[in-house]
């Protein structure tokens, strides 16, 4: 085994350059002020009113997006599990197809659709109703998040449902359970791993995004991601940006650990 250790070298170099070095510099910048002296001010800054507000708002939008993705993806997974189309994977292909397009481009497309004089505007004029102005509102940001991250919810849920043993579902019917009871007591609990990984894969990027809120929020929607980005780009305060990033990272890691722990203990009961 040890003979082939050398093959891991490119990966190890990547990890060092791409992950370890940036992580160390974030920690370094986070613990220093602009003169290079040690400080923990940058971390405590997270608890300032402005930042806490942005954080709560970000969590809220991320939760809403995650929830919408879940209630869109799960029924779809249930339908596709049984259908021929689902088995051939064609429908899944259609849903995942947008993922192969550039993420910025997809978000920009929504901008073009939603903005004044955009597609939606023209459509409203055609129907002779007033322009439904959702661009630059939290609604547009949630829409963008759901659209961008939905495939990440669909794939794990579809996979877990597709590979579920049909015999277990038949056993449930056999023991007298109806469709709804079977869904609640057998299918849903057994698909928890897929749901968990779907939630993780949608919630984390939704929480930290700044591109979607920038493009569809018109600078009016300040999420924690936007604040961190501005510290780096506009204010050129790398120390504060690093400090905030680091706190976010810790928050995410801690919540993930708790979340997966709950799953292992089987205490996640979704209904």
């Amino acid at each position: 085994m040890y003979k082939h250790r050398g093959f891991a070298l490119p990966f190890i170099i990547m990890i060092i350059i791409g992950t370890l070095v940036p992580l160390c510099s974030i920690v370094f910048y986070g613990f220093t002020d602009d003169t290079g002296n040690f400080t923990i001010e940058n971390f405590l800054a997270m608890f300032s009113e402005e930042h806490i507000k942005a954080l709560i708002f970000s969590v809220l939008l991320a939760l809403i997006s995650t929830f919408i993705c879940l209630i869109l993806a799960y029924p779809l997974g249930l339908i596709l599990r049984k259908s021929k189309l689902g088995k051939s994977g064609f429908v899944i292909f259609i849903f995942v197809l947008p993922m192969w397009m550039n993420f910025l481009l997809r978000t920009m497309a929504w901008q073009v659709i939603l903005e004044r004089n955009g597609l939606l505007d023209h459509f409203c004029q055609f129907l002779n109703i007033p322009f439904v102005e959702i661009i630059n509102t939290p609604f547009a940001v949630v829409l963008g998040m759901v659209y961008d991250f939905l495939p990440f919810m669909i794939l794990p849920i579809y996979n877990v449902l597709k590979s579920m043993d049909e015999g277990l579902i038949e056993a449930s019917y056999d023991l007298g359970a109806g469709k709804f009871t079977t869904l609640r007591k057998v299918i849903l609990p057994l698909s928890v791993p897929g749901i968990i990984s779907g939630i993780t894969m949608v919630f984390v990027p939704s929480l930290t995004t700044f591109v979607i809120s920038n493009m569809l929020g018109g600078g009016k929607i300040n999420l924690i991601g936007n604040i961190i980005e501005q510290e780096f780009t506009v204010s050129a305060n790398w120390n504060l940006g690093s400090g905030l990033s680091f706190v976010m990272m810790i928050l995410i890691v801690v919540s993930m650990v708790i979340f997966t722990k709950l799953d292992e203990d089987g205490e996640v009961n979704l209904l």
């Binding site: 043993d165 449930s172 056999d174 007298g176």
Partner: protein, 357 residues
Amino acid sequence: MAKELIRLDNLTKSFGDNTVLKGLSLSVHENEFITLLGPSGCGKTTTLRIIGGFEKPDEGRVFFEGKDITDLEPNHRHINTVFQKYALFPHMNVEQNIAFGLKVSKKSDEYIKEKINYALKLVNLEGYEKRNINSLSGGQQQRIAMARAIVNEPKVLLLDEPLGALDLKLRQEMEYELIRLKNELGITFIYVTHDQEEALTMSDKVVVMNEGVIQQMGTPEEIYNEPQNAFVADFIGDSNIIDGFMIHDKLVNICGVDFPCVDSGFGENKAVDVVIRPEDVELGKPGKGQLDGEVIHNVFIGVHYEMEVMAGDYEWLVQSTTSHPVGEKVSIKVKADNIQIMHKPQSKDEEALDLDV
């Protein structure tokens, strides 16, 4: 005769181009252990799934206690199944698995607890209530699957090759266990297997199937001793199936020699299939039997020696506790009542028609 519980009336089922059942009719009576036996793809599992409600027949009806249940969903049938791979719920422990059906039908906690205790005692797994399903061995899982099905007090228990995944020793133990359970519970068992030994050991009635058609139905003794066609004879145990022709009633010519037999009604000078079980072939000194030959093969397989004897242009399969070395000249003798005469099938359809007895 016991009351008729299930009647299958002329069932037909195809999956795509593949016709699995071709007009199958069958009656199952109360308190009967009936086994559907056949090679894979013969339609036995499909028949079971139609009774359980997991498949709908293309044509034909299913009756349960006289009522047509063909279109009834499985959860509304008074029938429970022990699945091939047990299908125990991996996210529940033993107790929760057994309680599943009782909880669904909203039984009281006390009743459920009592039933779980009773069922675990019945399958000899007392004290396993809180065990994780994945920590159980195959045989234990099999017992829990039984327990989960029988606590619902079904009138019929369907068993889909439940012993298939177990090793030989355990399988034999479970065979006796199943017979005991069936007698204690007094319910009807419909059992599906491709293993003829299981079928013969446990059943009151064996239904031999092939290519979606019932080949023969009867007690294990009838099936073994009087197979009605070459398929049944070949599938149930080893046998010599030899071309012969009836000289007249009670005399058949095989390999150019006349053998007295006990069958009649086949006509005169009519070509027939002759079945002789390998243990019924007696070997002796040359010239002392009905036909002379030479041993060409000899294998010791435990309970007896299995030999092949070339005699009259046919390789006779012979089982005997006395060994005859390869190359030895021997004679063959068969008692009249050990010779089973069968019609030669003209075609497969006719083979099937023969069986409507």
